[in-house]
């Protein structure tokens, strides 16, 4: 039996999709949310370094063999096949109900004013496609607040000396400061820096029927059995379903957006768990399946009216694929520093995010990292130190509890040549062309990362580390902060969606995930994606009436 037509289809149940689905369903629209992954429950969760989202197979999808991609650093190479978990360049985003927010680390930052005005702040940067956003921090502020309250974000208002103004405090107090945090806080104060407890979508008190963090050491890349991590699967989707207006169609992979006789999006084609093909018609199509997959879906939906892909008259769909460079600094100490209280991060510094040091556009925050785990530590050594053998074992014994790892997410600059397009040969298990990823970081990206990591080393030295070293950046490849493939902008010739995440070409097509980010800031992107999803949903709710726009314009 054919599916009944609905008001809106949302493709993807993660940070962006989960929110739009809930907002539209509560506003009375009939919604179907498509999720290619499954619904995981507590029985599927584990405490294991070998069973995490970073393992083979990734604990929460995508299924390895069905979902190859291809990867190359530059378009001068032939792309090689890469698989989830097996190849780092593939990216680490889960494919599950809740999307990336099921097993993420929960960092929930607001971007800074400069992050929306990178071109105005730093000028044109050669070799990059840095632009200003069509919206400002002030536009997004109410929606940041909405996201923090609806999801449950812990933090301390006013504690970050460099944060932009906010109207309300955080709904929950910050995570407790652990011994590593105390050490780096005190060292930072001695250096004249500005320590503060960073914001996390991790509950520190019971909130909206969920319980507080149990402080286990397995947070990052693991799903939370206490449901203290505020992923959309435990926050937005239950509310969406409660309205009775929303259906979650999991294990269902959307392969194409369908268009009507005039080239207007009219629904989606999808395959269920038994690989049976179906259609779902809808008036509104909201694409939110991650920067890589959203671009691929639009490109795979080409047709007579849209030879270059849906919503791609600009040729920009898939361009400017971006992800953060890491930025790790490590130090070993002569005294024990317990790290048995999770999640780990408890003190951060924004002194080196837009510090305007010469030649450093943007920057990144620094924070004490998630609790160190044994395999991870075995693979982390200062340059020149043995990676195996008796000396390696001695190091493991001596320093596992005498170690601090500082992390960062350093701003990387968008480049048009970094992109997602369709691989000419390789197809997935549904017969669809896979995403071909072309990505490498530019010299400035690595300069920014090195600058921030050096600051991290300075902090560790001040804290008394007997030896410090930096993490090594890979050459390229997406990780779990992929963004930028359907950038927002005012000019339909140079951007894919407008300031409301609405396709310039097709009024009933929206993109509400990391794809729309113009630049990626020195912060984790989740809260900004979520604020943008509330912002886009607000626009749809105000402007959409029945099956047409309120202003009478055809969709």
């Amino acid at each position: 039996m054919p599916n009944r037509k609905v008001d809106a289809v949302v493709v993807g149940s993660g940070a962006g999709g989960g929110i739009v689905a809930k907002e539209l369903a509560e506003a009375g629209l009939s919604v179907v949310v498509f999720e290619r992954g499954q619904m995981y429950t507590k029985a599927d969760f584990n405490h294991s370094e070998l069973g995490s989202q970073y393992s083979v197979p990734p604990a929460y999808g995508p299924s390895v063999l069905s979902n190859p991609r291809t990867f190359r650093y530059t378009d001068r190479e032939v792309a090689r096949v890469v698989y989830p978990g097996v190849n780092d360049e593939y990216g680490k985003t889960a494919a599950a109900v809740g999307g990336g927010t099921l097993a993420y680390g929960g960092a929930s930052w607001r971007f800074k004013r400069e992050d929306f005005r990178m071109k105005s702040t730093y000028g044109t940067i050669a070799g990059t496609s840095v632009e200003d956003w069509p919206i400002s921090y002030d536009d997004l502020e109410p929606f940041y607040e909405k996201a923090e309250y609806e999801l449950g974000v812990s933090g301390l208002a006013g504690a970050d000396a460099f944060a932009e103004p906010r109207k309300k405090p955080y709904p929950l107090p910050p995570l407790p400061i652990n011994p590593q945090g105390e050490i780096v806080r005190d060292a930072g104060l001695r250096l004249g820096w500005h320590p503060f407890p960073p914001p996390f979508a991790i509950l520190t008190e019971p909130y909206k029927g969920r319980s507080a963090c149990i402080q286990c050491v397995w947070c990052l890349a693991h799903a939370c059995e206490a449901e203290a991590k505020s992923g959309t699967q435990v926050t937005m989707l239950p509310l969406a379903l409660k309205t009775g207006k929303c259906e979650l169609r999991k294990n269902s992979f959307v392969t194409r957006i369908l268009t009507d006789g005039k080239g207007r999006p009219a629904g989606v084609q999808y395959y269920d768990i038994n690989k049976q093909g179906h259609e779902q018609l809808a008036d509104l199509i909201i694409v939110a399946c991650s920067a890589t997959e959203s671009a691929r879906l639009l490109l795979n939906s080409s047709g007579k009216f849209h030879p270059r892909g849906l919503g791609n008259s600009s040729g920009q769909v898939g361009r400017n694929l971006n992800d953060h460079t890491g930025g790790d600094s490590y130090g070993i100490f002569e005294r024990d520093i317990p790290h048995d209280k999770g999640p780990g991060p408890s003190i951060a510094f924004n002194d080196w995010n837009h510090s305007h040091a010469p030649g450093i556009p943007g920057g990144g925050y620094i924070y004490n990292y998630y609790c160190t785990l044994p395999i991870e530590f075995a693979q982390t050594r200062p340059p020149g130190e043995a990676m195996w053998g008796q000396a390696h074992k001695e190091f493991q014994k001596k320093y596992f509890h005498r170690y601090i790892h500082l992390g960062s997410n350093c701003q990387a600059l968008p480049q048009e040549k970094n992109c997602v397009d369709l691989d000419p040969k390789v197809r997935d298990a549904w017969g669809m062309p896979v995403a071909r990823i072309t990505h490498s970081w530019c010299e400035t990206d690595l300069k920014i990362a090195n600058f921030v990591m050096q600051k991290g080393e300075q902090l560790l030295k001040e804290a008394g580390a007997i030896k410090t070293w930096k993490g090594v950046n890979a050459r390229g490849g997406v990780n779990d902060h992929q963004n930028g493939t359907c950038r927002m902008g005012n000019d339909p010739k140079t951007s894919v969606v407008n300031r409301y995440c609405q396709s310039h070409d097709l009024g009933n097509l929206f993109v509400t995930d990391g794809s729309v980010l113009v630049t990626d800031a020195g912060f984790n992107p989740a809260l900004t994606i979520q604020a943008l999803a509330f912002w886009a949903a607000d626009y749809i709710k105000k402007e959409w009436k029945g099956s047409a726009w309120r202003n009478g314009k055809r969709a």
Binding site: L50, G61, L65, S66, Y83, V86, W388, D428
Partner: protein, 170 residues
Amino acid sequence: MSEPIDRRDFIKSAAGSTVAMASLQVFCASADHATGCKFFNAPQAATVKAIAERFVPQDDSPGAQQAGVLFFIDGILTGKFGRFYEDRYESGLRLINELSQKQFRHDFASLASDQQLSILRALESGTGVPPEGQRFFSLILQHTMEGYYGDPEHGGNRGSASWKMIGFEG
């Protein structure tokens, strides 16, 4: 954990995609497995065991051998995703024994410990060995560390020996 599409479906769907097919090899079971192994034959198992023990030697706490690293790696190779590593182990172990024969006239497992160390150092630095030798070194080192320091439920780290050694309570 999630693998709804089985391998037969995948092969079918990947047909016509030469790049994907090239990375896959059909696993052929052979009869002469080493004791307790389902992938390695006896000489391969001896080589893996010797390499892993050099990576994590026994001292006052167990080494890789006692922690069951061989069986952990064998488990990877016979597991659902073993096909990503089978070829690399077969050719990597062959290469290491060829190097050992060439330099010291014995298979790796029969060499004196300083000879074994010299072979492993050459592989690690890529000195006088083909690039795939260096890549295999990284792979078996990674698998050894995973087997020794990972969750005992995955077949290595028997008796949680490494966790006890470093004071990790999980």
